[in-house]
């Protein structure tokens, strides 16, 4: 398989990538193969971010391009059987906080790596998290926070998961500007980060160990 598409994505050539994906999909190329090539591009972007070569802005732009790719391929995916997801993730910014930038980037990066992501949005009630966890039985639950008024709702959601017996069935992650190891301890999470790629790496490591 050619790496041209993957490398165009790595070089953030938005119009080139989206044009090529559209052409390939319309000419009957296997949408899963196209998606896989773009995923390889996203993996390189992630590697470059972790090595310090790329910055968050570049990862965000790559994620936007990848979202565009998925959107072009969506109508063509009905004809193919999608591969089994690597794992399932529920993401949310909880009640009191409306910031979604970090969460959106993590969601796209996880999707690019083959995870099934259920993004509940922002200002989400803890009970809504519980309902979604009951429904999809995820491997990971992730909370994003940029302001401290989300601490209480993250703790509440975590406690709801414990009370319902679902907490031990998933890993709980927290991330975002105001989170620290102390916040992780406070809400009883398994993992905390300020870095979207660290979150993706954590999921890959944990899922690999299952």
């Amino acid at each position: 398989m050619s790496d041209a598409l993957a490398m165009a994505l790595v070089e953030l050539k938005r119009d080139e990538v989206l044009g090529a994906v559209k052409d390939k999909a319309e000419s009957g190329d296997d949408p899963l193969k196209i998606l896989e090539e773009c995923r390889r591009g996203m993996t390189i972007v992630g590697d470059r971010f972790q090595s310090g070569e790329f910055y968050l802005a570049e990862m965000m732009l790559a994620a936007e391009i990848f979202k565009g790719v998925v959107s072009i391929l969506d109508p063509h995916m009905e004809k193919v059987r999608p591969p089994k997801p690597l794992g399932k993730v529920v993401l949310a910014t909880l009640k009191g906080d409306i910031h979604d930038l970090g969460k959106d980037i993590v969601a796209t990066l996880l999707r690019a790596r083959g995870f099934e992501v259920h993004d509940l949005g922002v200002d989400v009630l803890p009970a809504v998290v519980l309902d979604k966890v009951k429904e999809v039985n995820p491997d990971f639950v992730g909370f994003s926070a940029l302001i401290t008024s989300a601490f209480a709702s993250m703790k509440e959601a975590s406690e709801l998961l414990v009370e319902s017996g679902l907490r031990e069935k998933c890993k709980l992650m927290v991330g975002g500007g105001v989170t620290t190891p102390a916040v992780k301890e406070h809400i009883g999470a398994d993992f905390q980060t300020l870095d979207a790629m660290e979150g993706v790496s954590y999921c890959l490591k944990e899922i690999g160990g299952k």
Partner: protein
């Protein structure tokens, strides 16, 4: 209590001038929501009563906690539209002021921004997209109400022997573009239409700088506050910083400094890689206020003896830590960053909504009583 030999103004100016004050000056950004919470009030009820009560709760906290030197950080949500931003005012389920970020204007409007300038672009276009206002008179009325509020803010703070720590919550032109275009769209602009962004910055920065100088002079303030959360290395590579932020920042600081006004940089997120650039600014011309994400101790190594540093007790420590942990961190800041002067003790960004009262007291008391020189 140590014997104080300086006024708050003298203490702050000594730190800015990189001299040793009688004790470390303390500057606190405190917005309505955490102030109301510290007093056991509902932020959404206070905000709904207008500018006056929003200032009152901040002043009440100041009085109840024994006061401090620099007072800043008040950010009434009614004012967001005047900058072209949509606010999400406090509510019962969401008690803090927040910006509802979105693409308020489109890329094809850069030309209009360049043509009419920053203030006209906001006042004639953006305000009406992000608020219920429909007439220019309403903007003028809000502006007039705000100026009256600012005058009272300055009077009340000075009456208490303290100093306004920056006059008005302003954002750097780069950050303004990012907030009003939205983070993702503005980043696309920077990478896919850089010349257009550059032309806009060249057009609006002089106007923005004149506004900053006029406002500071009008309020008789020697410190001009402006926030920038996005231009640092947490988000952007140096090539973006060097082309779209640094030259305009130098222009702003030089213009303010030539009028005797100190630039107060409110730098949220990580700026570790950008810190050395600030050494190019004139000695004593700026305060680099950090939020607990940038390594303040490394910043001191680079900027010590050249620029004053502010910060940086992390919100998480104030919310979840113990008073003795807050005290220990403040002492470390004073020992390591303030040892030769040049530190203004502050909270990271602003007092967090969930701050424990005992931690805020520990922060203030340590600043007032710990003088290792």
């Amino acid at each position: 209590m140590v014997k104080e030999t300086m006024t708050s103004e003298e203490r702050l100016m000594a730190a800015i001038s990189l001299e040793k004050p009688d004790r470390v000056p303390i500057a606190i950004n405190l917005d309505t929501a955490p102030a109301a919470r510290l007093l056991g009030l509902n932020s959404w009820e206070v905000v709904s009563q207008g500018f006056g009560p929003q200032l009152d709760v901040v002043l009440q906290v100041f009085d109840e906690y024994g006061g401090w030197d620099g007072v800043g950080g008040l950010l009434p949500p009614d004012l967001f539209p005047v900058s072209g931003m949509r606010a999400k005012p406090p509510s019962e389920g969401s008690p803090e002021n927040q910006v509802l970020e979105g693409e308020v204007w489109k890329p094809e409007e850069y030309d209009l921004l360049v043509e009419v300038g920053w203030q006209r672009f906001v006042n004639e276009q953006l305000v009406f997209r992000v608020s219920d206002m429909t007439k220019a008179e309403e903007i003028a009325e809000l502006g007039s109400e705000w100026m009256g509020f600012l005058v009272r803010f300055v009077e009340e703070v000075k009456k208490r022997g303290a100093q306004p720590y920056g006059i008005m919550p302003n954002v750097h032109p780069f950050f303004w573009m990012s907030l009003t275009r939205s983070m993702v769209k503005f980043t696309e602009d920077l990478y896919y239409r850089p010349d257009v962004v550059e032309r806009a910055l060249k057009a609006i920065v002089p106007e923005w700088t004149r506004f900053a100088i006029e406002l500071s002079k009008g309020m008789n303030s020697k410190i001009f506050f402006f926030a920038e959360e996005r231009a640092g290395c947490f988000f952007y590579p140096m090539k973006i910083f060097e082309r779209f932020w640094w030259p305009y920042t130098v222009e702003i600081v030089d213009a303010l400094w030539s009028e005797g006004i100190v630039s107060l940089f409110h730098l949220d997120q990580c700026w570790d890689q950008n810190i050395p650039y600030f050494k190019q600014l004139p000695k004593g011309s700026a305060i680099i206020d950090l939020d607990g994400t940038t390594d303040i101790f490394a910043a001191k190594e680079v900027l010590g003896g050249h620029l004053c540093i502010g910060g940086d007790v992390h919100p998480s420590l104030l919310c979840l830590g113990k008073p003795e942990e807050v005290e220990a961190y403040c002492k470390r800041l004073i020992d390591e960053v303030g040892r030769d002067g040049g530190l203004i003790l502050g909270v990271g960004c602003s007092v967090p909504y969930e701050a424990k009262p005992e931690n805020l007291r520990a922060f203030i008391e340590t600043g007032k009583n710990y003088v290792p020189w």
